[in-house]
């Protein structure tokens, strides 16, 4: 089922792009990643909005946790009332996981350089696209030095993966007033790039290129959707702080200055978050 609905279509589309784009596999990966990003854009936006919402609710969550720490049932009830949903941020991410893993499988399968894996590829090509069979074995050389089907012995790709993942994470990370969450975020900001960098040491370069392109497109997407996000942020700040939600209790959340200093653009957003916004607009 996994192969039938996820990996096989991706494998065939990737090869089709390789054929259309002048048998340039790197170009095929870039266009394919762009397509995937477009298809999953609604989910990504939903995930970012969800994370933003949870971040904005932190003072109230903290307050409820403190207040009802001896009554878990009541705590749950109150949490529900303020709109707390622990999976709202990660559910879209969980839905994207099959796409991500399927894509990795497809890239791995099409970049195959050995007979055993080639026979597996042969079983999964669509018969109504007969031209795809003529494309194998894929030309896996890149810039005359790299073999896309093998790990990068020069360490260039793992390093670029670490740097782009770090930058992308830093940009996407939601500001928070919860010290525990801030600590987790800070750890994530370092751990995720290192984990993926480590993963790239033994992974074909083609997968690394997908990851780099995906990170860069994520950054581009961040700036493109920023106006929409700012609007949503302003909305949540109004609802949770000044627009009808329960007011946060002073002293529950530590001052923002105690947390990791975020980018300047985010400081502006944070300041707005803690200010009552009576006209519904994000004042800058």
């Amino acid at each position: 089922m996994w192969d039938l609905f996820i990996v096989n279509p991706m494998t065939n589309i990737l090869l089709l792009l390789y054929d259309i784009l002048g048998k340039n596999y790197v170009l095929a990966i870039i266009v394919f990643t762009l397509l995937i990003k477009l298809v999953t854009l609604p989910l990504t936006i939903k995930q970012q909005v969800g994370m933003m919402k949870m971040s904005a609710l932190q003072p109230q969550i903290k307050e409820v946790q403190e207040k009802y720490k001896n009554d878990p049932r009541k705590m749950q009830e109150e949490m529900r009332k303020i709109g707390y949903n622990p999976v709202s941020g990660c559910l879209p991410m969980l839905i994207q996981m099959p796409v991500l893993i399927g894509l990795f499988g497809a890239i791995n399968r099409t970049l195959t350089v050995d007979p055993k894996n080639l026979i597996d590829l042969g079983k999964h090509l669509y018969t109504f696209l007969p031209n795809l069979s003529s494309l194998v074995p894929i030309d896996s050389t890149f810039l005359g030095v790299f073999d896309l089907g093998r790990p990068d012995r020069y360490l260039v790709v793992p390093i670029v993966v670490v740097v782009t993942t770090f930058l992308s994470n830093k940009l996407m990370m939601q500001p928070t007033t919860d010290p525990q969450m801030a600590q987790t975020n800070q750890m994530m900001q370092w751990m995720t790039p290192m984990m993926f960098g480590f993963f790239m040491l033994s992974t074909p370069i083609g997968l690394g290129i997908y990851w780099i392109v995906s990170n860069l497109l994520g950054v581009a997407q961040y700036y493109l959707t920023k106006p929409m996000m700012d609007k949503a942020r302003a909305q949540y700040s109004m609802v949770t702080v000044g627009g009808g939600g329960k007011p946060s209790v002073a002293g529950v959340a530590p001052p923002l200055t105690q947390l990791t200093p975020p980018p300047k653009s985010k400081i502006r957003a944070k300041n707005n978050l803690n200010k009552p916004n009576t006209d519904g607009k994000n004042k800058k």
Partner: protein, 376 residues
Amino acid sequence: MYKLGIVGTVTMLLMGCTGSDSAPSSFPGAFVDGNVAYLARGGQVYKYDVQSGNLLWEFPKQETLERGPFAGLPVKFGNTIVVGEGLNFASTGGIFSKEDHTQRSLFGLSDENGGEIWRFTGPKEFVDGVVTDGKLIYAPNGDGKLYALDPAQKENGQPKIIWTFNDAKSKLWSKPLLAGGKLYQASMDHSMYAIDVATGKKIWEFKAKAPIAVQPTLNNGVLYFGAFDSKFYAVDAETGAKKWEQTTTGWVWSEATIANGLVYFGDVRGRVYALDIAANGEVRWTFDTKDAIRAQPIINGDTLYVVSFDTNVYALKAADGKTAWPTPATLNYRLPAKPWVINDTLLVPLFDSETRMWSLDIASGTRKIQFQPVKK
């Protein structure tokens, strides 16, 4: 903390889905000579006594990631056994690898004790073994060249290259067929080449629409072979002119066997075909297994034996494709290599199991002897 959990899980899943198959990267091959069998598989080459299953020698003595996988059919050349190393993806070792792992060697081993007599290091892999006329060894390589080697003469400590055929534009992943002063060599560049064995020059070239990765079968002046374009071809061996073609459901990566006017082969979607040569390749019967067929089917009397990646050995009536055994013999591991018939025994090499081969009773398919990588 759930975010950390998700990142960790994704990473583990990705790592899992990119390198979980522990089987060798290239297919094994066995060759039977009288009462002994030579098997090239994974990190070692083995010589077995067929009757007892005793291991007579192995090369090298210890299996390492740096050596192998030994692949394709071992070939007897005088008192040496010639065997090549296939593509070694497992030992790339990522950044920790210092040597060029695309370089693979061809070995001449002592038939008596398995000791190394000579070595020829090719630019790339030797996936399907070599052929010989008793004087020279014809070795196709993953670099797209076919090398004619003379082990009796040495050049830089390696067998001397007498000539090189370098017209092919892609990998050579199948051994050539040597017949009538010609070598017929398939290439992943979509062509079948006829080459003058004396000079290494091209005589003709037949173009398919996708890679060809099988040794052709010759019968009455006609070459029979399939390709990745899901076609099976009959081509005149003298001129390279196509006589007929037949469409299959999947890539053809199995060599053909000819008997009683029918040509038998399988495809990667698991279908076995019997085509009528006299009727320009008309399909006489087909039989479906559950996974890819890569090995050449073999015929013994009225029965055709087929091994499949679905881990089964099938005995089919050659005339109509009906099953000859009550049930197929299940060996629980993928079966990519050609089986052998020795008297009342069928010898089947395995791909990714601890057991290297099984011998089966040819009449019923029941298991007889297990061939292990250790001396009994």
